[in-house]
């Protein structure tokens, strides 16, 4: 498959997922504020500032707006084309990517992205402000419809795997950011390892975090109504069955990467596979206690950085012209399983095929 086509599939998928996640953050925040109406000041910047920290670039935000409130944050995250992560920018980019490979995707996939794009063009900030729930639901549904169409129509070829990688890397990254920011807000500043005293205020906020991942119902099935931060963290980060958890997303991305390269649990073909395998293994054997011991923030930042490195390696390996070589010290990390020859096998074969 041409690198350009693979790259466009990856980014098309990634941008759709990004738009959906941004819509989720915003929707839940509005929801949350309605719940809190009686006990807190709704337009307080503290409720809006974290959204910018999750999904955007705070420096970029303050260049355009003077205060954090419902209007400015919505405008920045939904409409502003200067914000390359806004829903408008994301769908615009997804559409450009889809358009450039229109002969490689099905026409239904193209139509769905195109419809979503035109829907966004037709919306005004006032309309969103009047009825935010319908609007965010539209975005979420449109993304689900796109993914559903893709699931049902796209052949399970290499291209499919690139679509999956884009989607799940983005999802894992968003989940990590969301938990990180919410944790910052909610945990008491002293004595990190003690059980926090949860008042109803915090419970509602944690429920909001679950909701933004559509995780509340799935969570209840596992933990009944024990809404405490440890259970929630365990669920959103480590659960192997819930499709929006970090562990699930990393695992799904890993499977797709392995299908492309032919890697397996015992040998990796390239750096991207090595890094994602390492992350997946770590998530498999980590407990909530481990996370606390390391410090949750550090733990999540490690995941975010790890995901960025994986993205870079995928770019170098599959999309860019120059393919990287595995550095010797990386290979030695694989020795316990396969030995040097095994670790190299797939890689050197693909080198020979190029001659």
């Amino acid at each position: 498959m041409l690198s350009r086509v693979a790259e466009s599939l990856f980014w098309m998928s990634r941008y759709v997922e990004r738009a959906e996640n941004t819509a989720r953050f915003l929707e839940v925040n509005f929801n949350l504020l309605l719940d809190l109406n009686d006990i807190a000041i709704v337009d307080h910047p503290n409720y809006w500032n974290p959204l910018i920290r999750v999904s955007g670039d705070p420096d970029n935000f303050v260049e355009h707006y003077t205060e954090y409130n419902a209007h400015t944050v919505t405008d920045y995250l939904v409409f502003n084309r200067q914000n390359s992560n806004s829903i408008n920018s994301s769908i615009g980019m997804a559409r450009e990517n889809a358009r450039s490979i229109i002969d490689s995707i099905s026409s239904e996939m193209w139509e769905q992205i195109n419809n979503l794009y035109h829907f966004l063009q037709s919306m005004t900030p006032q309309q969103v402000h009047n009825d935010p729930f319908t609007f965010y639901k539209e975005i979420k549904n449109a993304s689900h419809l796109f993914q559903g169409i893709t699931d049902n129509i796209f052949s399970r070829t290499e291209g499919w795997d690139f679509i999956q990688i884009g989607k799940y890397l983005e999802r894992a990254d968003n989940a990590a950011r969301l938990i990180d920011v919410k944790y910052h807000m909610l945990m008491p500043k002293n004595g990190q390892e003690q059980d926090p005293v949860l008042d109803s205020f915090d419970t509602i906020q944690w429920m909001a975090v679950l909701k933004s991942c559509s995780a509340l119902e799935a969570f209840r099935k596992v933990f009944l109504s024990k809404i405490d931060p440890e259970n929630i963290l365990g669920f959103l980060v480590l659960d192997r069955t819930f499709p929006r958890s970090i562990a699930f997303s990393v695992c799904a991305a890993q499977e797709a990467l392995w299908r492309i390269s032919g890697s397996s649990r015992h040998r990796y073909a390239n750096n991207a596979d090595r890094l994602i395998g390492k992350m997946e293994a770590e998530l498999s054997y980590t407990t909530v206690d481990d996370m606390y011991r390391k410090g949750l923030h550090d733990f999540l930042v490690d995941i975010e950085h790890g995901l960025i490195r994986i993205g870079e390696q995928i770019h170098l390996l599959y999309f860019a012209y120059h393919t990287p070589k595995i550095e010797p010290h990386d290979i030695s990390e694989a020795l316990p399983f396969t030995g040097i020859a095994g670790g190299r096998a797939n890689w050197s074969q693909s080198q020979q095929q190029q001659q």
Partner: protein, 482 residues
């Protein structure tokens, strides 16, 4: 005569009518078709029109019009009535085109090597050497099999007497062949029964023939030469065709940025590393192919491609520099080329052509602007031309200034009354519309032609311009076996 054709006026005194004889009876090869159409009600036609429209829309068969801001993507208008060419007429066209393409290829091989024809003064040297499409650097570079023009699409017209004549030779990157193929598919859906009554020669093998031709010119000895299509990208007006042909041939559709040159060899960048390319069917003009050699601002090409080509590591179809021979000035010398290289009489005639850089001709052109069609030598697609009888005095005066300022760039031809073919203006009304014919000649080891071509039709009432960019449409074209 039957219902649908009853109100149709052929005007045999002014135009050659493709379907009706001057006395009003149908020509023999159209007999069965007219009979069949006569059985259709307006409602039938409307239903079938709908079938065809849905087919084209679903296929995404659109083209882009330059210079229009809104709604640049349009569906190419398609006329339901097929154009029929009897086999004896087709044989003549086929022989004539092969003769012509052979001579033009000889000409290119000659001017890019010994330039015998220039030294023998059959073609004036300054016309060739001064052409902006003559690429001096390629003198002495011999393409595989000695073939320069692998895919061509000559435009053929018929005059008032029904004589077939070549109007221009498109030797660079002629487009439209996807419409030829799709028109046939569309018509088969709309009128399956009609095909039972005629032995229509099939054209569906064109993509395979094209692939075979492209593989034949591979410069390497690899058993399965890797062919790619090179497109300028999604904003090009013919992007649909590029992607269509790539899919039909089962080869990769690439853009410039998908190709890299390493050690003077061409590769595609794939997710499995670099893959060697042997043949490029390029739909990018010479000027944009390689920013190192031609336009440095081109983002459509591949840096280093020309060197790889010169080293013989990759074949380009068509070869570089073929534009010099489809210059409208050089066109007027093609009959002489045929005599010079092949020692034969031309089978297909040229249209009379006056060259503005010949003082005697220039005088004639300026005096008769209102009767002539004046064309710029290097433009295509119906841009930059003046149709004398349809022009205003002011337009003619403005054009005359341009001609005098740059005579080498203009030629004039008599306004030919193109033959007419009944076509639908709307669901129930037929009118005679001017048509031409563009058959596609493939040239690998030998020249071959898929029977038929694209019949373009001027659907604007009275218009003589059939280019798709100027509001023309097309018809399915049948070559029949008697």
């Amino acid at each position: 005569m039957i219902s649908l054709f009853e109100r149709y006026e052929a005007c045999p005194d002014r135009f050659f009518d493709e379907v009706l004889l001057p006395e009003g009876k149908p020509r023999e090869h159209y007999d069965k078709m007219i009979h069949r159409f006569g059985q259709f009600s307006t409602e039938d036609i409307r239903t079938r029109r709908q079938v065809v429209n849905v087919f084209f829309r679903n296929q995404g068969i659109t083209f882009t019009v330059y210079g229009v801001d809104e709604g640049i993507e349009r569906i190419f208008p398609f006329d339901l009535i097929p154009r029929i060419i009897p086999s004896d007429e087709w044989q003549r066209i086929e022989r004539g085109l092969i003769q012509r393409i052979t001579a033009l290829n000889e000409f290119l091989a000659d001017i890019y090597s010994n330039q015998k024809i220039l030294r023998d003064k059959v073609v004036p040297a300054e016309l060739v050497l001064g052409s902006k499409h003559f690429i001096r650097e390629f003198i002495g570079v011999k393409p595989p099999l000695g073939v320069y023009i692998h895919v061509t699409g000559s435009d053929i017209i018929r005059d008032a007497q029904g004589r077939y004549m070549v109007l221009e030779d498109n030797l660079r990157t002629p487009s439209g062949v996807s419409y030829m193929l799709q028109n046939r598919q569309a018509l088969k859906r709309a009128f399956p029964v009609l095909f039972d009554r005629y032995k229509v020669r099939p054209i569906d093998n064109y993509p395979q023939e094209l692939l075979r031709t492209l593989q034949e010119i591979s410069p390497t000895s690899r058993p399965e030469p890797n062919v790619v299509v090179l497109t300028p990208g999604i904003y090009n007006s013919a992007y649909f065709e590029h992607s269509f042909l790539a899919r039909q041939m089962g080869v990769e559709l690439t853009e410039g940025r998908d190709l890299v040159i390493n050690n003077n060899k061409v590769y595609t960048r794939t997710t499995k590393g670099l893959q060697r390319v042997d043949v490029i069917y390029r739909r990018v003009d010479d000027d944009f192919l390689d920013p190192l050699v031609f336009r440095p601002d081109s983002k459509l090409g591949v840096a280093g491609l020309i060197n790889a080509y010169r080293k013989g590591n990759v074949a380009l179809a068509n070869a570089i520099g073929t534009g010099v021979a489809d210059d409208k000035v050089i066109y007027s010398f093609v009959p002489k080329m045929i005599r010079y290289y092949l020692n034969e009489d031309p089978i297909l005639d040229n249209v009379d052509t006056w060259l503005a850089n010949n003082p005697k001709d220039l005088k004639y052109i300026l005096e008769n602007l209102d009767k002539l069609v004046v064309k710029s030598a290097n433009e295509s697609g119906g841009y930059g031309m003046l149709v004398g009888p349809e022009s205003t005095l002011e337009e003619r005066e403005r054009f005359a200034e341009k001609i005098v300022a740059d005579p080498r760039n203009y030629i004039a031809q008599p306004t030919i009354s193109l033959s007419r073919h009944p076509s639908f203006f709307n669901d129930c009304e037929l009118a005679g519309c001017h048509i031409d014919l563009r058959p596609y000649v493939l040239y690998g080891k030998t020249p071959t032609i898929v029977p038929g071509g694209l019949t373009r039709v001027a659907l604007k009432r009275g218009s003589l311009v059939v280019n798709s960019s100027q509001g023309g449409g097309s018809k399915d074209t049948w070559v029949i076996d008697e």
